[in-house]
């Protein structure tokens, strides 16, 4: 016990050693591993062959598609504008492109912690949203006016997602706090509101917003059909998100609020500085999840007559020569969805990691 040799941690096993241990530990393991690997390589080869090697790329070569074994990307080359922009006037596509870039930049920027204060976030979204709207809607600064019925494709998908989040997020916070209110009337009413909208299918809410509200609401309150649908969608989103946030609030020990009370903090100070930051941390995975679900669910608005990206994709292969190539169109759209959703969930994972530091 007197020797002062420094104890080193045991060396980590090499990659090969770990591979050997986990995949080739017994004869049966070997067989299973080899079979699986072979299957995997075969599948991968098929996909690469279809997508890259045996595929036709340019629109002019569409005649070759019939004979080719691979993907016919000509359909994307020829029709991508319909997929991305829907019925938006052809000469104005640059506006839609720019608007999408602005909105994506706004979303990305709000992921940086530097923007995480009510004023900065508010200003950022006001600017981002304003620029997006002016570019899309036009009718000022010499841009020709384009009504929302003609918006479509990716820009419409992003617009719906962004505005549902923008309206839904603050609303969800209000609902979550309301449901936990000490005033029984407030708590009951928000509880009823949340449970009512959660018990309805999204489709019903969107139909009601698009078709029924015009009979109920006075003219000046109706707005465009797109806005009504967005408000309906946002309420639906907020009710689910409110429950996620409430779960996060519920998990905070009561001592936190008491410490705030004894320090003399008022209700809003305790809510904004102590409760909400911890609630967001606690339920970050489900909050991000709700955003992911919402992004994918935007496609449901086709049913009430909007040309979001999935519907415009449908239109893109709907005419004559392109009908056989719907798979390529859906793969293309799938990749766009994947890019958005995957970055959303990676960002969520990054946030979780970052915030774990604070909890120690």
């Amino acid at each position: 016990m007197t020797t002062a040799i420094q104890q080193l941690p045991p060396a980590k096993p090499s990659f090969a050693a770990r591979l050997q241990k986990s995949l080739f530990n017994s004869p049966l393991d070997c067989v299973i591993s080899v079979v699986c690997a072979a299957l995997l390589f075969y599948l991968l080869y098929q996909i690469i062959d279809w997508a890259f090697i045996a595929s036709i790329w340019r629109a002019e070569d569409v005649a070759l598609c019939k004979a080719a074994d691979g993907a016919c990307w000509s359909v994307i080359d020829a029709r991508h504008r319909i997929i991305l922009f829907g019925l938006f006037p052809f000469e104005e596509h640059w506006r839609s492109t720019l608007a999408c870039i602005v909105m994506v930049a706004t979303i990305v920027a709000s992921c940086f912690t530097w923007f995480w204060s009510a004023t900065r976030l508010g200003l950022l979204w006001l600017c981002g949203f304003g620029v997006f709207y002016i570019l899309m809607r036009g009718g000022m600064f010499g841009l020709t006016g384009i009504t929302p019925e003609r918006w479509g494709g990716l820009a419409l998908t992003i617009f719906i997602f962004a505005s549902v989040s923008l309206i839904g997020m603050p609303l969800s916070i209000v609902l979550a706090l309301g449901r936990r209110s000490k005033l029984p009337v407030v708590a009951r009413l928000t509880g009823l509101f949340i449970d009512f909208f959660r018990s309805l299918p999204l489709l019903t809410i969107l139909f009601a917003a698009a078709v029924i509200t015009p009979f109920v609401l006075p003219g000046w309150l109706q707005g465009d059909k797109l806005y009504r649908v967005i408000v309906g969608f946002a309420i639906f989103f907020a009710c689910y998100q409110a429950e996620n946030i409430r779960a996060g609030l519920q998990a905070i020990p009561p001592g936190q609020d008491e410490a705030g009370l004894t320090l003399g903090l008022n209700y809003w100070q305790r809510v904004t500085r102590i409760q909400l930051p911890q609630a967001f941390r606690n339920s970050l995975p489900s909050i991000v999840n709700q955003f992911v679900i919402t992004f994918k669910e935007t496609s449901i608005v086709t049913i009430v007559g909007f040309f979001e990206i999935l519907a415009s994709g449908h239109a893109a292969y709907g005419t004559g020569e392109w009908t056989p190539h719907y798979v390529e169109v859906y793969v293309f759209i799938g990749l766009i969805y994947f890019a958005f959703v995957f970055s959303l969930s990676r960002y969520g994972a990054y946030l979780e990691n970052r915030m774990r530091v604070g909890h120690g």
């Binding site: 410490a259 009370l261 004894t262 003399g264 911890q278 120690g360």
Partner: protein
């Protein structure tokens, strides 16, 4: 914080409290002078926590009068706010804000309630962190500290608000034995500076050393109160004797 026995810090008169049908506090009468240090002890469930939580209105009392620094504690929000600003509280579970650094924990109320700017607030906070001997931990998060360090941060956080009265609810019961003294040392030096203190604790060494008065509670009543010497040497009530024999056994 000058000792001035003529001013009462806290007056409780006939205070009663119920949790539903359960009578937790029964006719509590208590006067605490400025600068006085009081230790409250008693068996579990006797209402010690409830009593001191009533003083900063973390619990409502249903009957009786509570007056803190000449301000009546009632449903008037302005009064409650004013009392809370003058009364600091330290909890058994520390209740530090886990998402803020130690320094941010201390400066939060200074900036929001006392309206100090950031430099002033940080200077004050660092002063109190030095006083509890952990200025070097200022940039860490509570989760990275030991229990004793966390409790000292909690004390510093309360002191930042420059309270007239400090309430402690079993500040050392959640700590490992080797960390208890580092917290008690801080409390002793606070007492020596003349802070008005009410401590719920079973640290009898601490009670003997700093308390002006020891109060024994049982079943929601103040059973006995006396100066520490008489309290420990000649407890009058047999419930007190039983309790003392139990906790002083080991």
């Amino acid at each position: 914080m000058v000792e001035n026995p003529s001013v009462t810090a806290i007056t409780m008169q006939g205070v009663n409290k119920w949790f539903d049908d359960f009578h937790v506090l029964k006719d509590i009468d208590l006067q605490v002078a400025m600068g006085e240090k009081i230790v409250i002890c008693g068996p579990s469930g006797s209402g010690k926590s409830t009593l001191i939580r009533c003083i900063c209105k973390l619990e409502d009392h249903q009957r009786g009068l509570i007056n803190v620094l000449g301000i009546e504690l009632n449903d008037d929000i302005a009064n409650v706010d004013e009392i809370r600003r003058e009364v600091g509280m330290v909890f058994q579970q520390f209740n530090l804000f886990p998402h803020m650094t130690v320094l941010e924990n201390c400066t939060l109320a200074l900036t929001l309630v006392r309206k100090k700017n950031r430099e002033e607030a940080e200077a004050i906070a660092m002063g109190f962190l030095e006083k509890v001997h952990i200025p070097e931990q200022a940039a860490k998060y509570p989760g990275e500290l030991s229990g004793g360090q966390q409790q000292r941060v909690a004390i510093a956080r309360s002191l930042c608000m420059n309270p007239e009265i400090m309430l402690f609810d079993e500040p050392t019961s959640a700590l490992d034995p080797e960390m208890i003294s580092e917290v008690l040392d801080v409390m002793v030096s606070l007492a020596e500076e003349g802070m008005t203190m009410i401590c719920v604790t079973h640290e009898m060494g601490f009670a003997r050393r700093v308390a002006d008065r020891v109060i024994f509670m049982d079943q929601g009543e103040i059973v006995e109160q006396n100066d520490p010497l008489s309290f420990f040497e000649n407890p009058a009530n047999e419930r007190t004797q039983l309790f003392l024999s139990q906790i002083l056994q080991h």
